[in-house]
């Protein structure tokens, strides 16, 4: 054992079990031998998280969190600070990358049943991370204090105002003013750079510790813990290092190539990553013609807009109902572990209904995303309403179809 060695590391290990924990959680941690590229997104998410933290700290050195100074300081970063543009574009592209990877990472989880017993907590922490990421992205988008920052924030804050009884007061309390103003901006700054990132780091740690407790899944849904050799190493597992670390390197390389291609050549992503109106300073009296969210919120924004009716006899306005449905579209992810009654994990062994459900879910999510970036008209609203139903149906019907559909027999070994 390392701790008996009379090396510096041994000295440390006797006081703080660094080697033991590194081996347990990193180098010797057993992971399934056979996984596919879907399993790389977790590692890539860690990479992006680090990019965001580092670039964020550097941006913070030049940014001014006041109503008068915010927009100008972002221009200053872009024009006068050496490589300031790189920091900012890495941070903004990082946000898009974060969501892109997160959506795939979670869809992988849905496909391969990465939420099933005993991985419920891993999944819950992950869902909570998605929620925090959405909050973080929203808060961050307000900081440049551009037109879209301002008006998009208005749309979201007015959702709180739509809550019956307490809504208007709640909104004023969140804003710290009767309108969205510099006061709101500074508190969003504090939340964006300190509170939410700290929570996210804590949750990432929980997510990974919980994962290492129950073991990573694989596309087959085979339980690799069952068969172990005499040292307790799963027969179908391999230590994380060097097998997975070197496996992930090419993926990280490819990711960086794509990432920097966007940073250098298309940092605004054609208006989907940073929207045009955001190159104009926030103006309280001028609403942009068309308020569209950044692409990663578009599906949820579509769901919000699809609700054009309320429940009058319960005193629920269409706006509040929209808010509820929008919140439910994220909340429903949290309960997936208890909706799935299947006796197999992976989509590969599930029945036809599960497969249809996943296709419908993915298709409706993409369609909603497309619609969310477009102005509304009657036809689009109708399609968005249908897609909203299709978004929820796979989850709401899950307890039924997963229970009764015919599944294939899962092999014992990978």
């Amino acid at each position: 054992m390392a701790s008996e060695k009379s090396t510096v590391m041994g000295w440390i290990d006797r006081r703080l079990p660094v080697t033991e924990n590194l081996e347990r959680h990193l180098t010797k941690h057993p992971v399934p031998k056979k996984v596919n590229f879907f399993y790389l997104f977790g590692a890539l998410l860690m990479v992006v998280f680090m990019i965001q933290v580092v670039t964020g700290i550097w941006l913070m050195m030049f940014y001014t969190n006041t109503e008068e100074g915010a927009f100008a300081s972002v221009e200053y970063i872009m024009r006068d600070v050496e490589y300031g543009w790189l920091m900012r574009y890495m941070h903004s592209t990082g946000a898009s990358a974060f969501f892109f990877l997160m959506y795939f990472h979670m869809f992988r989880g849905l496909l391969y049943g990465s939420y099933q017993k005993p991985k419920e907590l891993v999944w819950l922490f992950g869902c909570f991370l998605l929620f925090l990421l959405m909050a973080e992205g929203f808060l961050g988008y307000v900081l440049p204090w551009g037109q879209m920052s301002y008006w998009a924030a208005n749309v979201i804050l007015s959702l709180f105002g739509a809550i019956p009884f307490i809504g208007p007061d709640l909104q004023v309390w969140i804003q710290g003013d009767f309108v969205l103003s510099g006061i709101t901006l500074s508190r969003f700054f504090a939340l964006h750079v300190v509170v939410v990132p700290l929570l996210m780091i804590a949750l990432v740690v929980f997510h990974i510790f919980a994962l290492h407790e129950v073991g990573a899944g694989n596309p087959e849904g085979v339980d690799i813990e069952k068969y172990r050799d005499e040292k307790g190493m799963p027969l179908d597992g391999a230590p994380f290092h060097p097998y997975k670390t070197f496996g992930a390197l090419p993926a990280i390389g490819i990711f960086f190539i794509v990432f920097f291609a966007i940073v250098f050549f298309a940092p605004t992503g054609g208006g989907y990553f940073i929207e045009k109106p955001n190159f104009e300073e926030a103006n309280f009296l001028k609403t942009p013609e068309h308020i569209a969210p950044v692409w990663y919120y578009a599906p949820f924004y579509s769901i919000l807009r699809a609700v054009t009716f309320g429940i009058p006899f319960l005193g629920i306005t269409s706006k509040f109902l929209g808010f509820i449905v929008f919140a439910a579209s994220i909340a429903i992810l949290f309960v997936v572990p208890w909706l799935d009654r299947s006796n197999v994990q992976s989509i590969r062994y599930k029945g036809i209904y599960s497969k249809i459900a996943m296709v419908l879910f993915a298709a409706s999510f993409i369609t909603l995303g497309y619609l969310g970036t477009k102005p509304v008209n009657e036809l689009r609203t109708l399609i968005a309403q249908i897609c909203t139903v299709l978004y929820f149906a796979p989850f709401l019907l899950m307890p039924i179809y997963t229970k009764y559909e015919k599944t294939l027999k899962v092999p014992d070994r990978l």
Binding site: V172, F178, K226, E230, T287, E289, I291, K319
Partner: protein
């Protein structure tokens, strides 16, 4: 893959892992399992003739022994703990727990007050939210002025007589005709004062007083159109049926003093 060997007793042994093997007994048609778990020897018939199956059962059995043993140990230990402990007065302990957690909760709540209150509008923000005055004498009929109050655009519309005639015609096209508020939803029936904030999602509705067919309405009689999600309001700020905005444009607190309009003070 597996080593086959005949040992002294004449049993065929199939070595699988250290401490794990299958073997065949002369009088039994089945595979038998041999396990050495931490020095303890276990043997039993696996009741199968299929080698693959037997191998699987052997692994299952090993896991069973490994895990159930540790569980039993744990339970025994826990039992012992309980037995060895001197009897304590649990009521007093409970009472202490309850009071200390209550006190803890009160402390936390007490500390939360200043932190949560700090988020309320500051004195400065409240001062900026004070009322504003507007001179109505220069506002032509049919024109609209935008006054800023609490950073919200306030629409002040000087209604034309034509508009005042048209408003009642729209009573059944709007969700909430609010007849009680008067024709122009105003105390003086000449000037309508509205918050220029769409009740859907806070965009600023655009003033379109013209009476002509519009892309959003063939029989447009003048009013406000919100470009964000297409909500329609008439000149008195009443919302049309079947649009995303749920309620009429809000009327901010205001009063008239001669030619002066004071926004932010109730009548």
């Amino acid at each position: 893959m597996f080593k086959m060997s005949k040992n002294k007793q004449g049993k065929k042994h199939i070595h699988i892992l250290d401490g794990m093997s299958l073997y065949i007994r002369d009088k039994s048609p089945f595979y038998w399992g041999y396990l050495n778990v931490d020095g303890e020897i276990h043997k039993k018939s696996l009741k199968t003739k299929d080698k693959k199956e037997a191998e699987k059962l052997l692994f299952d059995w090993k896991n069973e022994l490994l895990y159930s043993d540790s569980l039993n140990d744990l339970n025994e230990k826990l039992d012992m703990d309980v037995k060895d402990k001197p009897r304590v007065d649990n009521t007093r302990r409970k009472a202490l727990m309850i009071t200390s957690s209550l006190m803890g909760a009160v402390t936390v709540a007490g500390f939360a007050v200043p932190f949560l209150s700090a988020w309320n509008p500051s004195e400065k923000a409240k001062a900026l939210g004070a009322s504003v005055k507007f001179d109505l004498s220069k506002l032509e009929p049919g024109a609209m002025a935008v006054v800023e109050w609490r950073r919200t655009p306030i629409f002040v519309v000087h209604q034309t007589s034509k508009a005042l005639e048209n408003l009642p015609k729209l009573n059944d096209r709007v969700t909430d005709p609010v007849l009680s508020e008067g024709v122009a939803r105003s105390t003086n029936d000449k000037f309508t004062v509205l918050k220029g904030v769409c009740t859907h999602l806070s965009c600023a509705p655009k003033y379109h007083p013209e009476i002509e067919p519009k892309a959003w309405d063939e029989q447009w009689l003048g009013g406000f159109f919100c470009p964000c999600h297409g909500s329609k309001f008439d000149l008195a700020g009443r919302v049309y049926k079947g649009v995303p905005a749920p309620t009429n444009l809000e009327v901010p607190p205001h009063k008239f003093e001669g030619d002066t309009l004071i926004i932010g003070e109730p009548t």
